[in-house]
Symmetry: C2
Subunit: 205 residues, 2 copies
């Protein structure tokens, strides 16, 4: 089991390499990549060596090659179909966010239990009733879920997604327990991002 | 400069300890904390040793003591005042999110340039016009900023926050460049969270 922070760093390296490729940079040393990515050169070499030999001793990494290797390692060399449940303030902001599709995450359907929203489209995505989750998720072969419902119904919604065959879920609502084997549930807590700032301000005085 | 992923892990340890304290657990070994937090016991010991000796050899960590130490290290043992700029879909979802206040991040003012929103309140927070940013931020002694404006104006808004004396910013809009010394700008990219899922599904087949 690879720690979440290692996968996070791979995503950061991938974005740094994408920017370098756009700027026409052909190759880069782990020391220079370290400056851009914000992690030590030793950490970068350690992370990448786990997956294979990508650098050429003394000549660094070939930007386009390493980028495409990371794309495969992260699994973003193909499209992923996503269901979003809870078309409220946060749900609608995520439906409008262009960053998901840019990385090949395509929100194919949204679900809600509010009759005012069912049948409508937000950012081109149709809203179905929560009762249709199983039928729609199976017929569209949806593989991932995003949960943006109120906390009190989050666990029920996650269980429904799992019942419909979904094996990887991103939840913004706090969940009380660990889920069953073979199902990945990542929780987002944006207050953790704020703690990155309070840490910095506290230690930089 | 501590890597962002180390600070992230401290936040995860803090939440695990908070849950343990609520369950009435008095002490815990790094091995047991590893199970809950999702990072190796060696990583936990390495992270914590950097800040001091918290464990008792052979008897583990005292939950309440380690939790309060982490609170101080993360800087969440005091209130932080926050300004949010861009009261759109995402901005309003963040204004409504109770997780910020729970960790002592208090959004004191919001700003927008849409006359329909200026003067209104969302989730108890008053919206001022973007032109009033400098005056309101200084008079309320606001220390942090959250940026949820469209990408094309993000850089201007970040510069305005810095001019108003803010030294730590969380941006949801993509920013092109690195900012000046002494200012911390963290960018959130939720597609990175989705890549944690595609990585898992790709490697767990
Ligand atoms: N983790 C974070 O950092 C973070 C940040 C912001 C919001 N949130 C969380 O995200 C969630 C959504 O926040 P919001 O501001 O968008 O709330 P909201 O009330 O605006 O939206 C919730 C939506 O869920 C729908 N819903 C309720 N019960 C449902 C059910 N059984 N099935 C399907 N849909 C259902 C509602 O009709 C509504 O459209 C909340 O749990 C909130 O705490 C988390
Ligand atoms: N990084 C992520 O993971 C992520 C996820 C979702 C959205 N986003 C980003 O967050 C931003 C907001 O998204 P949204 O869906 O809420 O957009 P939105 O259009 O609903 O809201 C934008 C708000 O900014 C205001 N605004 C525009 N120009 C302004 C200015 N000069 N000064 C002050 N306010 C101004 C608008 O009036 C509006 O209220 C976008 O940049 C979007 O790409 C990022």
């Amino acid at each position: 089991r690879i720690p979440k922070t290692t996968v996070y760093r791979l995503s950061v390296y991938y974005r740094a390499l994408s920017n370098l490729e756009e700027e026409g940079v052909d190759s880069i040393s782990s020391a220079d990549l370290s400056e851009i990515a914000g992690f030590s050169a030793a950490q970068i070499r350690k992370d990448l060596t786990y997956y294979g030999q990508f650098g050429r001793p003394g000549r660094g990494y070939v930007v386009s090659h390493l980028k495409s290797q990371l794309r495969t390692i992260l699994g973003i060399d193909r499209d992923w179909s996503v269901a979003l449940v809870g078309v409220g303030r946060l749900g609608r902001a995520l439906l409008a966010y262009k960053g998901f599709r840019k990385q090949n995450f395509i929100i194919e359907a949204a679900f809600d239990n509010d009759p005012e929203k069912v049948g409508k489209e937000f950012s081109g995505v149709r809203v179905y009733h929560q009762d249709e989750m199983d039928k729609v998720i199976r017929s569209k072969k949806i593989e991932m879920g995003i949960v943006t419902v109120p906390e009190e119904v989050a666990e029920i919604i996650v269980a429904k997604l799992i019942d419909a065959g979904i094996k990887a879920i991103l939840s913004f609502a706090h969940l009380p327990s660990i889920f069953s084997n073979g199902i990945k549930v990542n929780q987002v807590d944006l207050s953790i991002e704020m703690e990155g700032l309070s840490y910095y301000l506290t230690h930089s005085k």
